[in-house]
């Protein structure tokens, strides 16, 4: 139970020792994020002005796969000694009005091609030369080959662009949002959490996001070809729960393989067919938002909402975990 609370929404001073304790315990890897990170980024052609030349860069399959994070598709800053060799190089000074008009026409056709590329999202494979360089001072003296694609009528392009949001429309579970006060939607006022243990670590989950707790039985069936944090399917009266190896998931560096034997229950997540395997379930407690040291940067382990000093436990953002799990499932079909 929470005891004393700061008044209002005041934020506690950072407790570095607690943070480093959990950082150390939970490790640096994010297995789930790794397992579906390849699905996240899709290269798109980019146009950018740089210095005196207008350069259109097309991604090659090689660059998109080799460095998906750092080599996000962008034009490198133009080196000082860059030779304007691209077919889209724009001369610094225009001779006549007629030349200017012709150049404008050429640029418009280039923009139309760019829209077509974005609309049809075709993988363009070019020569093995890298589209981007790591060293901004390196001279790019190679010619960019633009594939010739017949531009469809503008109406068709517009239709294709309109259809894109429908294609990427994703299933979203409730309670995902974090508000401006740095807390998730489900923790705006007093909330209940359930404490449980996984390989000796105490974790807390908000009760509002929990489905049910079922015992793990011999019927837990592993499936081949899955990520190592997937324990298997546990048949229950309420359906088959896709069971996550919670120990492997939250602290891969300190993973103890005996967890597979010690795990006794699976806690299902409300709204998704997934659940977390746990060793034991403790009593529920009530927390005030001020009891939690909320994480401000959740880029690394987005499923970790914060830490609770009073109970020395990590608070899981269960809606976020549920969302990550369904996004990781390539067979998932939104209802």
């Amino acid at each position: 139970m929470s005891k004393e609370h700061d008044s209002g929404d005041s934020i506690r001073p950072p407790d570095d020792s607690l943070t480093s304790y959990f950082d150390d315990l939970l490790g640096g890897e994010d297995l789930l994020a790794q397992s579906f990170s390849t699905l996240q980024e899709r290269p798109m052609p980019v146009a950018a002005s740089s210095g005196g030349a207008r350069v259109i860069s097309l991604p090659t399959k090689k660059t998109a796969e080799d460095k998906p994070k750092k080599n996000t598709l962008r034009a490198e800053p133009a080196p000082k000694t860059l030779k304007p060799i691209s077919t889209f190089a724009e001369p610094a000074a225009l001779q006549t009005l007629e030349q200017k008009r012709q150049l404008e026409k050429l640029l418009q056709s280039a923009r139309a091609q760019l829209l077509v590329d974005a609309a049809i999202t075709t993988q363009v494979s070019t020569e093995a030369k890298p589209a981007f360089v790591n060293d901004p001072n390196e001279i790019q003296d190679w010619v960019i080959e633009i594939p010739v694609i017949e531009a469809p009528p503008i109406a068709e392009i517009s239709d294709a662009l309109d259809e894109q949001p429908a294609q990427v429309a994703q299933f979203q579970i409730d309670g995902l949002e974090w508000l401006d006060n740095g807390r998730p939607q489900w923790a705006q006022s007093r909330f209940d959490v359930l404490l449980f243990k996984v390989s000796g670590l105490t974790l807390a989950v908000p009760l509002i996001s929990l489905g049910q707790i079922q015992p793990l039985t011999d019927e837990l069936t592993p499936l081949f070809g899955q990520a190592d944090w997937f324990m298997g399917l546990q048949p229950t009266p309420a359906g088959k729960i896709r069971t996550v190896n919670t120990a492997k998931f939250v602290m891969p560096e300190r993973y103890d393989p005996s967890f597979v034997e010690t795990a006794k229950y699976v806690m299902s997540i409300n709204g998704v067919p997934w659940g977390l395997a746990v060793d034991s379930v403790n009593q529920p407690i009530t927390l005030m938002p001020e009891d939690v040291k909320w994480r401000s940067d959740r880029g690394k382990r987005p499923w970790l909402a914060g830490t609770v000093k009073e109970h020395m436990c990590a608070l899981l953002d269960i809606p976020r975990i549920g969302q990550m799990l369904i996004e990781a499932d390539k067979n998932f079909l939104p209802a």
């Binding site: 019927e219 081949f224 070809g225 499932d329």
Partner: protein, 161 residues
């Protein structure tokens, strides 16, 4: 009227027969229409230079049949040959191959509606072999799509074996 209703129901929700077999402690099912016969284990002649998932070949009444190492194909640990070990001769498209399994269990009848989609998390190619799962007789059946067991390139490789 009642007969018509029953007919409509059966056409909407057909009953399929699946041959079940055991592999590394789990039960798998394959469509009975693709099973030609089940053989006791007999010596499999290894083929030099064959892909790693190929155990070798057997002589089936004068025909050479390639036998696949199913455990290897499913990324499971290797197992021992026992009295229950069987070679299931299956037919996919135009090809006939054998798959080595720990034992063959039974034929079960499953309604299409009973089959659920299995998750596919991770980056293993073998996950695509799973067509679905079904809870039957207090155990979970993992249903295998034999048509995806090998790619067209791998079928070509097998023809060279």
């Amino acid at each position: 009227m009642a007969t018509d209703a029953a007919k409509n129901k059966s056409s909407d929700d057909p009953v399929l027969q699946w041959v079940t077999f055991r592999l590394d402690g789990e039960t798998y099912g394959i469509n009975v229409m693709q099973v030609q016969e089940v053989l006791r284990y007999s010596e499999i002649a290894p083929v030099p230079g064959a892909p790693s998932y190929v155990l070798g070949i057997i002589n089936l009444r004068g025909n050479v049949v390639t036998v696949i190492d199913t455990r290897h194909r499913f990324n499971l640990s290797s197992g021992d040959i026992t009295d229950n070990t069987r070679i299931v001769i299956i037919e996919t498209d135009r090809h006939v191959i054998g798959i080595l399994v720990d034992s063959v269990a039974e034929v079960v009848y499953l309604r299409q509606s009973e089959i659920e989609m299995a998750p596919n998390v991770g980056n293993e190619e073998s996950a695509k072999f799973i067509q679905g799962v079904c809870h039957k007789n207090n155990e979970l059946l993992i249903l295998i799509d034999l048509n995806k067991l090998l790619t067209s390139e791998e079928w070509s490789e097998l023809e060279d074996v």
